[in-house]
Symmetry: C2
Subunit: 329 residues, 2 copies
DNA sequence: TTTTAGCACTTGTCAATAAAAAGTGCTAAA
DNA sequence: TTTAGCACTTTTTATTGACAAGTGCTAAAA
């Protein structure tokens, strides 16, 4: 357990370092506390023994360790209310009645990314939570058509398919079969139902039923599992710790470019706001991910902010709380 | 006009520098030509007078200037056939019958980006070239529904709208009105037609016609003008001239993140392959854009490769030619 | 007239050195 | 328990010198 004074010192060091990435020395802290630099030095040594602080070299000032940030977030951080100006910017987005929920989320995270200079990520709900609502087919020319899938949560996906020697009538019939028989099925299960409930029926009276079945089968099996949206990717370059270390930037960018990797950001299903510092997250040991789930009616997903380990925890957590609140009503 | 020897020297310098970004000295060239370094120096001086070469400092070797690259591309470059291995990789994409055209283009450019370490861009056709084919409405719950727009070129767009106190019957009627009356209209003109041809009719018998009209109006006016697809964004970081100059990278990344700016890459409507070196393009004075239009049936668009000024012109032009050929049949 | 050998000169790079700044740990006294 | 004082470390910055690479120019050779 830390003493009151140790807590104060750790808090000062973390917050100073977050403001500016320069190791913090004992002298500058002694002015803030009513004691000498030697006392502060003793305490800092103790904090270092406990693994909460680190030195960049033998005679440098102290820098928070990963455990130090963790301790700060868990015990020392005071939540910061958003300032009025930032709130206003977000309210403009939330009050816009024209926008669908998913657009509101995306836009508001874009605003957050601009305000903080951190990267923001939105992950939509996964397919096994989506039920097939309806499919539609729009013919484009003799052999091409667009198949459109709509789920109960308003997720829309489309795919162009090419069918030769299949009559429009047969296609229409198949579509209406699907809509009547397997609407309401989780997207993940549609492929199976297609095989056991639709294939036998069309097999009887459609000439090219194999071709038709295959086309629809592919449409569903290619259904995107999750909507992934990354905003402010290059904000990472604005962070001093990355602008000198291109290798790190490359690694982070690469992870953020691959949708599958981005999906893995999500660590668990916790509903409240979670902070994953450095090695606690799966992106890079030099970043922190702050994330939370949101739920609104049937729709749900995860929003996350990615920044350097020395990110403004209090500010970002406050913002996410505010956004989550607004999304959920 | 340059002499034969000057041409040879310029070609050597450009190609050497493209291979490795180190200023080229007279001595190394004299070995390749049958003459002394002093002669080469004289010629290089002349080439510098003509603005085709530059020095990085008074006593450094020479580097191609923008005009030098231009001259190289226009007069010296020999087109390079793709090697068999690269061709094979692309053929796998082209031969895949399952993919829609737009996916083939995207995938093949992704391959090119991986092979060359340059960034690739695909711009789909613009909205004024798309005609409305059909719209569909899928209800989600009492007040929400999805409006889906399909164009004659297979472009699909959807939007969620919220309508209170409007009966499903009225909506269905309006949709069928639109499909019957203004299908075939360029997307850009739909809003107008909506006002003059649809609004008067629904105004007569739909209670909440104003609300209904507005909803549809927005759907069309928000129609994305152009499909924009950027692949291998962070390949830029692999280029030595950018990995030391973060400011440049930031500028390029910023431009590539903004769809509107990416659209502006397109310089004109030329059908053949065009090379825009440095200040000739609108992205950054340190990059080169190589682009071409493609056309396949009704669908058309632009593909472009973005790399440093010292990009492998011969290779990239050859690749684009090959891709364009394959797309167009 | 063209080419070339030779040489003085410029600039960048690299390693070594020195001095100053920032900060620590430890000891001993308050 | 706190603090003043001091020796010690490390980083940063500037300076120096040596060396390599390459140029431009002059004068001689082809």
């Amino acid at each position: 357990m830390l003493t009151e004074r140790q807590n104060r010192i750790l808090k000062i060091i973390v917050e100073r370092y977050i403001k500016e990435p320069i190791p913090v020395g004992s002298k500058s802290i002694s002015k803030e506390l009513n004691c000498s630099s030697a006392t502060v030095r003793n305490e800092m040594g103790e904090l270092e023994n406990q693994g909460l602080l680190e030195k960049t070299h033998t005679s440098s000032g102290r820098v928070p360790s990963e455990a130090g940030y963790r301790y700060y977030v868990d015990n020392l951080m005071e939540l910061k209310k958003m300032n009025a100006e930032d709130m206003l910017k977000l309210q403009i987005v939330f009050k816009n009645q024209q926008l669908a929920l998913s657009d509101v989320i995306t836009k508001s995270l874009q605003v957050i990314s601009d305000m903080t200079n951190y990267t923001a990520v939105v992950l939509g709900s996964t397919s096994h939570e989506n039920l097939l609502k309806q499919i539609e087919v729009v013919p484009i020319d003799d052999v091409s058509m667009i198949v459109i899938i709509v789920t109960d949560k308003g997720h829309v996906e489309h795919k162009q398919i090419h069918l030769e020697d299949v009559s429009m009538g047969d296609i229409k019939k198949t579509v209406s079969l699907i809509n009547n028989l397997i609407s309401g099925t989780p997207i993940d299960d549609v492929s199976k139902k297609l095989e056991f409930e639709i294939k036998p029926i069309i097999g009887k009276y459609v000439k090219q039923h194999e071709q038709l079945y295959n086309a629809f089968y592919h449409v569903f099996s290619d259904f995107t599992n999750q909507e992934v949206n990354v905003m402010g990717r290059n904000k990472m370059l604005e962070q001093p710790e990355f602008s000198t270390n291109l290798e790190k930037v490359k690694n982070v960018f690469q992870k953020l470019e691959d949708d599958v990797l981005v999906q893995n950001i999500v660590e668990d299903d916790e509903n409240n706001i979670k902070v994953y510092i450095g090695n606690e997250n799966k992106i890079d040991s030099d970043v922190t991910v702050i994330q939370t789930k949101y739920k609104n009616g049937g729709e749900e997903g995860t929003i996350a902010i990615i920044g350097p380990k020395r990110m403004e925890y209090d500010r970002v957590v406050g913002m996410l709380e505010y956004i989550k609140e607004n999304i959920e009503r």
